[in-house]
Subunit: 218 residues, 2 copies
């Protein structure tokens, strides 16, 4: 079953909005994430249900069928592999690749994407630390914890981000908070929830907002 650009964006959105397999995603949440209106979402949900990509019960929200989940993961795989390509081979910065990958992920060719995967030597994560599903849709989610939930003196490695906006990513880059960097939590300031962390022998301060969005492997 072929899928349009638009249908694929809906499937991806539903996947990203699913906390876990069973729980349903709301019409409004989809509308917001796709910058569209609830009425448009309802129309598309009917269509996706007809094509058996989602389970849809009026007024009850939707879940992905196994077929829908497979398709969503295939698009996410493409998105993340293209991001790796752009960063590794074409020297893009990690804050520059998302919008381009949003276009490239809709190129329809399994052969292309599998060859790209091979060319990139089967990367396990994308430039933002997100896992890349393999050709069978399998991937393992590493256990990452936001700095905001870590205790003092914890030592860990920056391994992912929760927020992908160029503004945030550029800030991290500038501050040296890049993937793979080792850090130690020094202290949390009770007043505003900010943190002092040590990085390369230096102590720096990061806001609570940043601490919530920076993921650490311990």
């Amino acid at each position: 079953m072929i899928t349009s650009f638009t249908e694929e964006n809906y499937l991806k959105s539903i996947y990203h909005l699913s906390p876990d397999e069973g729980t349903a995603v709301n019409t409004n949440a989809i509308a917001e994430s796709l910058n569209t209106k609830a009425a448009s979402v309802t129309d598309m949900l009917k269509k996706l249900a007809d094509k058996e990509f989602i389970n849809y019960i009026k007024y009850q929200g939707v879940t992905l069928t196994p077929l829908g989940r497979e398709r969503a993961l295939n698009i996410i795989r493409k998105h993340r592999l293209w991001e790796v390509f752009l960063v590794e081979k074409l020297n893009f910065k990690w804050d520059e690749v998302h919008d381009l990958a949003e276009e490239l992920e809709h190129i329809h060719s399994d052969l292309l994407i599998n060859r790209l995967d091979e060319f990139l030597e089967f990367p396990k994560t994308d430039p933002h630390g997100d896992p890349i599903p393999d050709k069978n849709g399998k991937f393992n989610v590493p256990e990452l914890i936001p700095i905001s939930k870590l205790k003092n003196e914890t030592l860990g490695i920056i391994s992912g981000v929760r927020e992908h906006s160029p503004l945030f990513l550029k800030y991290l880059e500038k501050t040296g908070l890049v993937l793979g960097q080792e850090i130690t939590i020094k202290e949390q300031i009770e007043f505003d929830g900010s943190f002092i962390i040590s990085i390369k022998e230096n102590d720096i301060m990061i806001s609570r907002e940043v601490a919530k969005n920076l993921l650490i492997a311990i």
Copy 2:
């Protein structure tokens, strides 16, 4: 001015159908090349004229404006660079890349395509021998002559094809008639217009149809 997938295909088609800058392209020719109907073409021509990509006079056919030509060349540049990428980096065969490039050529990013150009070390021709316009739309057309127009004992190098169908390209590959191969014209059979050519010390026969579509640099 942004252009849709569809508009871009029309611009590219008009460019390819223009024998030279001045002469107009017919509605029917465009319809045939895009596998659509004349009525649809007329609708689109009005739209492209509004956007100042073409000069359109009712019943008189169309020509590209400088703006339209620039846009067409940009899409052709992208098409051919992606073809090079697929062949050189992802090990695709020359008969496998066209349809994929038809999709990839519509990815909107000058930065991406210029970086890709650099990554590929600024190739001058695509896997079929067609010239790749540079970022300013400049390219030189090498003087290529079909075998069917060559005299006996001419020595030359296979440098392009006039026909891009996978069937034709696969046949050439199998027969050793690949780009860069040196050949000598031995004899034309008057009866059916076929040719005998020498390639790597062997004499082989090719039909008139093949001879018309294989381009040689002498």
